[in-house]
């Protein structure tokens, strides 16, 4: 049943996205093929713009589909299908994640091709010097895994934010404000997040993530307030090989708690849906 729900969502994403994404792809191809010509700076901007638009469209489809399926007229079908509320929620989460991966691939590969043609000769030289290999070696496999982990975490945060805003915003008590309810919840989430970040910067407890991690030392907890800016450690004028970024522990725990709580709350709201 869960797979069927996911397939249903994917089909709808496909139908809604194939036209706009095709257009963006055409613009991208056009701007890449304009490399070397005098128009190239304009083409580059157009290319970058098309990537942004593609990403924006995907995000729009992901979020509006969630709202429409659960709270629009289609809700009369979705909420009466013989599946559990948990399955309905997981289907949105997973299909949204697949869409997110597609978006990431499009953006990354699109940006790659643009940069490659934009840098032209410089890129070829970069490759000859073994450019990419140097970066990969510096970062290492654990670094790549960390990078992937961060991408996944970003999706979790995105989903938690929009699902909670929409589902809580459309619950029994806030329904009367229609989309105003969603805005209220979203602003509240944002405000709390800012507050937490602020507090977290004052608290001398951080998770230090090394950007060139080794298996034995990817992260460590330090009793310092988070150093938001990347700064290589300098001891006696000798730059250290370690580069890191800090996350306040308070902020981190809040984020994790937020993910769990939002999932629980959204699930609860789906179990007691009130569809106008």
């Amino acid at each position: 049943m869960l797979a069927k729900l996911i397939v249903l969502d994917l089909k709808i994403y496909g139908k809604m996205l194939w036209k706009p994404l095709s257009i963006c792809l055409l613009v991208l191809i056009a701007s890449i093929s304009a490399a070397g010509s005098s128009l190239y700076s304009i083409a580059l901007i157009a290319g970058l713009f098309s990537l942004l638009v593609a990403g924006g469209f995907i995000l729009y489809v992901m979020i509006s589909h969630y709202a429409r399926h659960f709270y629009g007229d289609q809700g009369y079908l979705i909420h009466t299908l013989p599946v559990t509320p948990a399955q309905r929620l997981w289907a949105k989460f997973i299909s949204g994640f697949l869409l997110y991966i597609v978006a990431a691939l499009i953006l990354l590969s699109g940006a790659y091709f643009l940069m490659r043609t934009a840098l032209g000769e410089a890129y070829d030289n970069f490759i000859k010097l073994g450019g990419l290999k140097i970066i990969v070696n510096y970062v290492g496999t654990p670094g790549l895994l960390l990078f992937l982990g961060i991408i996944l975490f970003m999706y979790l945060g995105l989903f938690a934010n929009y699902s909670l805003s929409i589902s809580l915003g459309m619950n029994k008590h806030l329904q009367r404000f229609r989309s105003g309810g969603i805005a209220i919840v979203f602003i509240a989430i944002f405000a709390v997040q800012q507050l937490v970040n602020f507090i977290s910067q004052k608290v001398p407890l951080s998770l230090r993530i090394f950007l060139n991690p080794r298996w034995y030392k990817m992260m460590e907890i330090v009793t310092q307030a988070p150093n938001i800016y990347e700064e290589p450690l300098r001891h006696h004028g000798i730059p250290s090989a370690t580069v890191y970024t800090d996350i306040g522990l308070f902020s981190l725990f809040y984020s994790l708690a937020f993910l769990v709580i939002s999932f629980v709350l959204v699930h609860r709201e789906l179990k007691r849906i009130n569809l106008r």
Binding site: D73, Q74, G75, L77, T80, P82, K172
Partner: protein, 238 residues
Amino acid sequence: MNNVIELNRVSKNYGSSRGVLDLNVGIAEGQITGLLGPNGCGKTTLIKLIMGLLQPDTGEVRLAGKAPRESLHLVSYLPEKTYLRDSITMKEAFDVFTAFYVDFSVERARHILSEFRIEERIPLRNMSKGMQEKAQLSLVMGRECPLYILDEPMGGVDPLSRETILREILQNYHPGSAMLLSTHLVSEVESIFERVLFMDEGRIIEDVEVEKIRMEENMSIDAYFRKIYKNKENRHVG
């Protein structure tokens, strides 16, 4: 006989005046029950409560003895609204129903659709409102299950089509199943009801056996309906 639907002291306040109050009713297996009343009296609210699309403020709703969302596979529901996305074709809709409902028969649904002279491959947005309603009916009656709930199945449809719809409902209605049909077009449908619930301002004001009314009052249900609501009006005024 077990009740396939049970409402016990169910109330729902909608904020505006469209709530329901203290509903106590049971719908038995194998009966076709009519839900009648003027617009805004709470028929759709009652149906949404049965389907779990609304949560009661007080009281309990039981569908086949359990909470509504646990018995959804037993109900074929036709809402008042169009619940399919407007880009969908009926062929795609049949695929969705086949995927989610084991009791759905594509052949039967297809047959009903052809009786209505609706093409399988055109998107819903290219159909008139009446055609959309008939198309949805083909999905709902294409299923064979213990309970059918139809909310105003003839709402936006022309008089000629109403007869066809009624025939399709009777032809495809699984014998022994229960059906709850809400409508404000009483005279055209009254022949299929065994029992009728009259609603007004959120309450069930009468619960009658149809043939008994005909026998005892020598009235059609349509005439009886008018009589009841006229009395209500007079009581308000007088």
